[in-house]
């Protein structure tokens, strides 16, 4: 039997058509956790951020070393607190003492200094290194000593109070770049060097031989002990390796997911709110490719990956899991902080020794007192309570309210004056279903008609809406011709509209040409491509749709990039690069006066390469020099040959693909990577194996 509330017919708000969802599986709880760090950018620091270190004591301030200064940031507000700038050269590394009261910093002049965090005065200056010092670190619990290493390949163990070196280790053959103290013992620490090795030293053994030697295989950029003390993670080249220290330096896993050099690694922790689920440690690594990756070293799996628009040099993660900071090569810190539940409680728990503060006496409330009548209203529900929630207030958009009242034109205008084109189209569709759209159009006054025409100008060629809007545009112009002629403003709108329609017509014409010329050849691939698209519930004419969409993206981006005025554009060729799995579509756009070759990644991020003389610009990245251009090259592939190719070799970030875009366009080659073949769509179609 129907429920009573079901008996009445419900009201449904107007909803836009669903969009295709990305094929990517939705976020795992872990990647939700990692993306819950609300990003915050600290810009305008000078030069690259060489080191980021968090204070082990609450409130976990962090120190960022850049240029010749060391700045302390508040990890809650991400505001700078203080800055130490008494350095003569570039600061390379900084390390807090275990109580967070002192900080040691090294610079390129070879000096190691110990500062009071509060007063910022240099308490001790440790001189001994002859070359730039790259590493300085306090052991995990020892407050009296620290170790350092530098480009002189010497690792020194210092007695801080006496300002004198205790032991010197001369085992490394190249620059010492990194190191970390063991969490198990304060006498044990590891250092990494550009001689490809990581050495574990024991200060109790005074001979200069290392307790253990690990060969990473690449210059070591960073080394850390993992929290158990039994494992070491090393970073160098584009891989991060996990070693078993107890097991005699055995390689456990090599993570090679970065495309470029990994510059820094640190230990991150998944601090579950509420404490359930044991604390899980991860290795966070950043590299020059701009990616931060989270590595689960118990399962040897990348669990999260995040991209930043600059090469990354350093990373730090606060011990309370509330903040992570990433330093880039161009003076920006991408700090992220997340709300930690029970922040207040944990803050209180830090000062249990202060027994002076008495609990305030709870006053018995009497009816004579005003608060008596408000008592227990702010009470939080306890665990076992049954909560009766107030029914959620349904938010109804303005146009929905008006539609409910059958004020169709007002609803239409209300949607038009909103920002969201999806809503406008949804309202139009609803009006069509009520057979009221044309009536609404005929009732619009001049101003509202202007709104509509502006909307049509902006969106009528968007493929998602074109089916409805093109027809509507025609009707509007037919129906309201007289009003349009009467008003200058409307005439302007019509001129804009005409321009965009002409542009669309041109696109369609060239598409038609392409389709006629290439359709037969591309059929197979396009069929597969079509499958890929239909799976996302796109409308019927997939081929057109896909082509149009990517084309438009490319055009728009290039507009934003450099051409202030694009006089006209035609789509010259379109190919899908590689197989469906590669999700790459190559688009060549001929714009007067320049020709651009763009590459569109259909998967999610749209990377585009524009070809300026010898420079290459990828979206979101700085321009960089091309690897090489070979112009007017003669090419022979089997019986088929041609003179005059421009071969451009393009370094890509994500794909290990070296493709000559100009060649592909002119030679009419469709690479078909899954079979390691390329199809030549020339006069003699043939299939050519590719050398990989």
């Amino acid at each position: 039997m129907a429920e009573p509330q079901q008996a009445l017919s419900r009201t449904f708000p107007v909803k836009p058509k669903l969009k295709a969802k990305s094929k990517k599986p939705s976020k795992t709880p872990e990647s939700k956790y990692w993306s819950s760090f609300k990003s915050h950018t600290i810009p305008n620091l000078i030069s690259s951020i060489t080191s980021l270190s968090f204070s082990p004591a609450t409130p976990h301030h962090f120190a960022a070393a850049y240029s010749t200064s060391l700045t302390l940031f508040n990890s809650k507000t991400l505001e700078p607190i203080s800055s130490i700038s008494s350095f003569k050269d570039v600061v390379s590394c900084a390390s807090f003492r275990s109580d967070g009261l002192l900080i040691a910093a090294s610079d390129h002049s070879g000096l190691v200094q110990v500062f009071d965090v509060k007063t910022r005065t240099a308490l001790r200056k440790l001189r001994g290194h002859t070359r730039p010092v790259r590493l300085v670190r306090y052991p995990r619990s020892d407050k009296l000593h620290l170790f350092s290493g530098g480009d002189d390949a010497v690792v020194k163990y210092w007695d801080v109070a006496a300002e004198s070196g205790v032991v010197e280790f001369r085992g490394h053959k190249d620059y010492v770049r990194c190191g970390d103290g063991s969490p198990a013992s304060s006498e044990l620490f590891a250092t990494g060097s550009y001689d490809h090795t990581v050495k574990v030293w024991d200060v109790r053994v005074s001979n200069s031989d290392a307790a253990m030697k690990i060969n990473h295989g690449k210059p070591v950029e960073d080394v850390i002990f993992l929290p158990s003390g039994g494992l070491i993670a090393t970073a160098g080249g584009n891989c991060v390796k996990i070693w078993d220290v107890i097991g005699g330096g055995k390689l456990l896993y090599s993570m090679e997911n970065h495309n470029k050099t990994v510059t820094s690694i640190c230990v991150g922790k998944i601090g579950r709110d509420g404490g359930e689920g044991s604390e899980q440690y991860r290795v966070l690594s950043v590299g020059l490719d701009g990616y931060m990756k989270v590595f689960d070293y118990s399962k040897f799996k990348i669990t999260h990956s995040m991209r930043f628009p600059a090469p990354l040099l350093s990373i730090g993660f606060s011990p309370d899991c509330a903040t992570r900071a990433i330093g880039t090569s161009n003076g920006v810190i991408y700090a992220g902080k997340r709300k930690v539940k029970g922040e207040v409680e944990s803050g209180l728990r830090e000062f249990p020794s202060l027994g002076l503060m008495e609990e305030p006496q709870r006053r018995v409330l009497r009816p004579s007192y005003f608060r008596y009548f408000h008592r227990s209203q702010g009470e939080k529900p306890s665990e076992g309570d049954y909560l009766i929630t107030r029914p959620k207030k349904v938010k109804i958009a303005e146009h929905d309210k008006l539609l409910k009242k059958f004020r169709h034109k007002d609803a239409f205008v209300s949607a038009l004056s909103g920002k969201n084109p999806e809503n406008v189209v949804a309202v139009m569709e609803e009006l069509v279903a009520r057979k009221k759209l044309l009536k609404c159009v005929s009732n619009l006054d001049t101003e509202e008609l202007g709104l509509l025409l502006a909307f049509l100008h902006r969106h009528s060629t968007v493929p998602r809406y074109a089916g409805l809007l093109m027809g509507l545009t025609k009707k509007v112009v037919q129906m309201r011709a007289e009003d349009i002629i009467a008003s200058d403003v409307l005439k302007g709108h019509i001129r804009n509209l005409k321009r965009s329609v002409e542009e669309e017509v041109r696109i369609q014409q060239s598409l038609q040409e392409i389709q006629e010329a290439r359709f037969g050849r591309l059929l197979h691939i396009l069929n597969r491509f079509q499958l890929f698209c239909t799976s996302k519930c796109l409308p019927g004419d997939i081929y057109h749709f896909a082509v149009l969409q990517w084309f438009q993206v490319a055009l728009k981006r290039s507009r934003n990039l450099r051409c202030p005025k694009v006089l006209g554009a035609t789509l010259k060729c379109l190919e899908q690069l590689g197989c469906v799995e590669a999700h790459l579509v190559k688009v060549e756009v001929a714009m007067t006066p320049i020709v651009e070759v763009a590459m569109a990644n259909t998967k999610e991020q749209l990377d585009m390469i524009t070809k300026e003389p010898r420079w290459l610009k990828v979206v979101n990245l700085e321009p960089r020099l091309l690897h090489s251009i070979a112009q007017r090259v003669k090419l022979c592939i089997e019986s088929w040959g041609w003179l005059g190719f421009d071969i451009t070799i393009v370094p890509l970030d994500d794909y290990k693909v070296v493709l000559a875009l100009g060649f592909l366009g002119k030679a009419k080659v469709v690479p078909y990577l899954s079979t390691h073949n390329a199809i030549l769509v020339g006069d003699v179609p043939c299939m050519v194996p590719m050398v990989t």
Partner: protein
């Protein structure tokens, strides 16, 4: 045999005296529902035709409130008296005229009780005089008076004659009753001590529009009437001049303004007539509250309006979702009911106008604009769960349990607001359930406005938790560009479906189930296109999978194309029929394929896949085809051909039955069994698997049949019966016949196999075969059965009888 799917809204429902029960006329029975649980308690069975009115004997003392007596009237010409608590039939009064409406004023007035001896009880009946022949152009619907105590009609009392059968309305005090007659309102006063020949005074109130409904005020002399334009007229102090002023209450007041009577038309006997106008269409519901302070009105908009009688102020209960038909108040002032045309009765909590419970019957057929010829998806059946599903007006699909005879759940297909008076612009054109009932697919079409904004949408649904309802899984906009979808079929075992379109292609969809997450959320279980195919760009009109899913058959207009669904390869083409095929189905696990086409040369054909040829075909208009999942039987619901030559004969013999169910064994072209059915147009047919739990109570011998055949007719009434048990008692809606073969056309050769059967020749043969089917065994039994007033004239009977005797030998000759 299980019957069900009756209309709950054919007549107004009535509350019992204690307001704990609701008496609803459901076909030939009266169903009694509990108002607290809204479930059916019991049924009054006895009438043989539609029950048209129920009158509960009211209780005047608190002690008599538990008494449960009622009078019912029916189209079978009887008035019956029941004790509906037991339930038990106590008395039958046979009038022999179909009764459309009945009121009994006597039992409403307390006078009858206080009198020592029980006086005669009179009822006023609205009847149709069937005895008068059609050639007399006289009206023959009358209002008559009947003495219920002595079981006879009051001689010579004809109160009124009307064009249409009219509902008699009575005031709650029983003092007045009346009927509407076009633009007039006839009101009679019942005198206190009624006797058979007592003169009855009558007044007539006039209006300029056709009246639709009216109601009497419970205490004052006020009558409210609604008309077709949506106006409500309130006549105050009617009948002051004509009716005797026994009470004399209203007498003095209106005397002084004798000559000005605002709004009253002509010489009507009323003091004033006020008009209220809110409804935009005709008023269907009018009722006064029991204290007389409020007037309830409703109509096509599906909005119940509460008028304050003195001030004319309105309150609304909007969004009932369907046109209102009746409003019933109970003696409990906080409970009333409103009946909607979607076969639903809502119980209302009165002052707050809250819907307490709903009694939902099977959704009545509603007219959808048929955009594609011969679309074959009026009903879908869940064969294992015993559910039937069909489209409803408010963009829902109702799932109705055939075994329990009640609604299981409703699925909202389009998220749209439904207004009963709206033009239909969005239509659910297709719906298909997967064989295991876990997935559903629907197609909907939005009509364009002057060529703008049309949309075809394909949706896939998965069944929700506890098999209640369906959850939307995937929406595909314009799956075949702008072409309409002609058929959808599910793969029997895998998560795969095929949709074919009139645009000339079909697409195979596959569901990619990914790993189920820990928190039970199914991730990305979307349907994606797996393959596309077409055959000569011909419109694809029907599609089906074989029982093991290895073969996909798709009809490309007149030919059948056979595909391998996995590799999407065309395997074979079989053809061809005369008209485009609208329905295709594999028969169980056999190699046979049955196809049906519609149109002027409609055809039912059986194709053998092993021979890739047609086995046989009939010239039949198949309305529905049902196949047993694991057997070799299939049943076809066919419309009987309408031929001028045999109309008379057919109609008298078949008694309004316009269709036949033919049960075929796949091996033989001769039907195993034939049943004749009524209202076959728009009907559906399916084999329903019986699970022992739901059916135990209904099987007498304890042996379960393998499958029951469910037949649902055009009015959404259904019957389930065992098609294999030939000795089964005959269902009244379905008349079973001996298996006499419609002449088969086995193994056509030569001309016929190339060009199909010759249509004209065919038709003649079929007609001659069909007509004499009935009387072939014991014709006299069927001719003379039925009540005597229904019998055709002797002249007709005689010829039919003789003809049947002659016809008896013809089958021997044709053999």
């Amino acid at each position: 045999m299980i019957k069900g799917g009756k209309s709950l809204v054919s007549s107004p429902p009535v509350f019992s005296n204690d307001a704990k029960k609701l008496l609803v006329c459901t076909g030939c029975t009266v169903s009694i529902f509990s108002t607290s649980t809204s479930l059916q308690i019991t049924e009054l069975e006895g009438h043989t035709a539609l029950v048209t009115s129920v009158v509960v004997v009211p209780a005047f003392t608190p002690s008599s409130k538990i008494l449960c007596y009622c009078w019912t009237s029916s189209l079978d010409g009887t008035v019956r008296y029941w004790d509906f608590s037991l339930p038990e039939l106590m008395k039958t009064v046979d009038i022999r005229l179909p009764i459309f409406s009945m009121v009994i004023p006597g039992i409403l007035s307390q006078l009858a009780e206080t009198d020592g001896k029980t006086p005669n009880l009179f009822a006023y009946l609205s009847v149709e005089n069937t005895k008068i022949q059609d050639d007399q152009p006289k009206v023959h619907r009358k209002i008559l008076k009947c003495n219920l105590t002595k079981s006879r009609l009051a001689a010579g009392v004809i109160l009124a004659e009307t064009q249409q059968p009219e509902l008699i309305t009575i005031s709650s005090s029983g003092k007045f009753f009346g009927v509407r007659n076009k633009r007039k309102l006839h009101v009679w006063e019942v005198i206190a001590h009624d006797h058979e020949g007592a003169p009855i005074k009558k007044i007539t109130l006039h209006h300029t529009k056709n009246l639709t409904v009216f109601a009497f005020h419970p205490t004052e002399r006020i009558v409210a009437a609604g008309d077709v334009t949506g106006r409500i007229l309130i006549w105050r102090s009617f009948g002051r001049r004509t009716f005797s002023m026994g009470d004399g209450l209203m007498n003095g007041r209106a005397m002084n303004n004798e000559d000005e009577r605002p709004g009253v038309r002509g010489d009507d006997d009323a003091d004033s007539c006020a008009t209220w106008h809110w409804h935009s269409a005709e008023v269907k519901v009018l009722s006064f509250s029991s204290d007389g302070a409020y007037l309830f009105s409703g109509g096509k908009e599906g909005v119940l309006v509460f008028w304050q009688l003195d001030t004319g102020k309105k309150k609304f209960l909007p969004r009932i979702g369907s046109p209102l038909l009746y409003f019933a108040t109970s003696l409990d002032p906080s409970l009333s009911s409103v009946s909607c045309s979607d076969n639903r009765i809502h119980l209302l909590k009165m002052p707050s106008m809250e819907i307490l419970k709903s009694i939902s019957g099977i959704k009545l057929p509603c007219s959808f604009p048929e955009i594609y010829e011969g679309l074959h998806s009026r009903f879908i059946f869940d064969q294992t769960a015993g559910l039937v599903a069909f489209r409803t007006e408010n963009y829902c699909i109702q799932f109705y349990s055939l075994f329990d005879d009640r609604e299981n759940f409703e699925v909202q297909i389009c998220e749209r607001n439904h207004q009963p008076s709206d033009d239909v612009t969005v239509v659910v054109t297709l719906m298909v359930l997967s064989p295991d009932g876990s997935m559903m697919s629907t197609a909907e079409t939005k009509f364009p406005e002057e060529g703008l904004g049309g949309l075809v949408c394909l949706k896939f649904w998965t069944s929700g938790s506890q098999s209640k309802g369906f959850i939307l899984s995937t929406i595909i906009y314009e799956p075949h560009r702008d072409a309409g979808i002609s058929a959808i079929a599910f793969h029997p075992t895998r998560h795969m479906a095929v949709s074919s379109s009139y645009g000339g292609d079909f697409k195979i969809w596959a569901c990619s189930h990914e790993i189920q997450q820990r928190d039970q959320t199914l991730q990305n279980s979307g349907w994606t296109c797996h393959a596309v195919g077409s055959y000569k760009r011909k419109p694809m009109t029907a599609a089906t999978f074989s029982a093991d899913g290895s073969v996909l058959a798709i009809a490309a207009e007149t030919v059948i194309t056979i595909w391998d669904p996995e590799k999407n390869v065309l395997v074979a083409v079989i053809g061809e029929t005369l008209e485009p095929i609208t329905m295709l189905s594999f028969i169980g696990k056999s190699e046979y394929l049955v196809s049906a086409s519609r149109g002027s040369k409609s055809q039912l054909s059986l194709w053998s896949l092993s021979k890739l040829s047609e086995s046989w075909s009939y010239k039949l208009q198949a309305e529905a085809v049902a196949c047993v999942m694991d057997g070799s039987y299939f049943a076809v619901l066919t419309l009987l051909p309408r031929s001028s030559k045999h109309t008379e004969l057919t109609e008298t013999k078949i008694d309004g039955r316009d269709g036949a169910i033919l049960l075929f064994n796949v091996g033989e072209p001769i039907p195993v069994t034939t049943w004749f059915v009524k209202k076959a147009k728009g009907g559906g047919l399916a084999f329903i698997h019986v699970n022992s739990a739901s059916f135990k109570g209904n099987v007498s011998d304890g042996k379960l049949p393998p499958a029951l055949l469910a037949y649902i007719n055009g009015n959404h009434e259904y019957v389930l019966f065992n098609p294999y048990n030939l000795e089964a008692h005959e269902p009244s809606m379905v008349v079973r016949e001996k298996p006499v073969g419609i002449e088969d056309e086995t193994g056509k050769f030569g001309y016929a196999s190339i060009y199909g059967a010759l249509p004209e020749f065919d038709a003649k043969r079929n007609q001659t075969e069909l007509a004499p089917l009935l009387p072939s065994e014991k014709p006299w039994e069927t001719i003379f059965c039925g009540s005597s007033h229904n019998l055709p004239p002797i002249t007709k009977l005689c010829s039919a009888f003789l003809e049947s005797l002659l016809e008896k030998r013809t089958p021997v000759i044709s053999d």
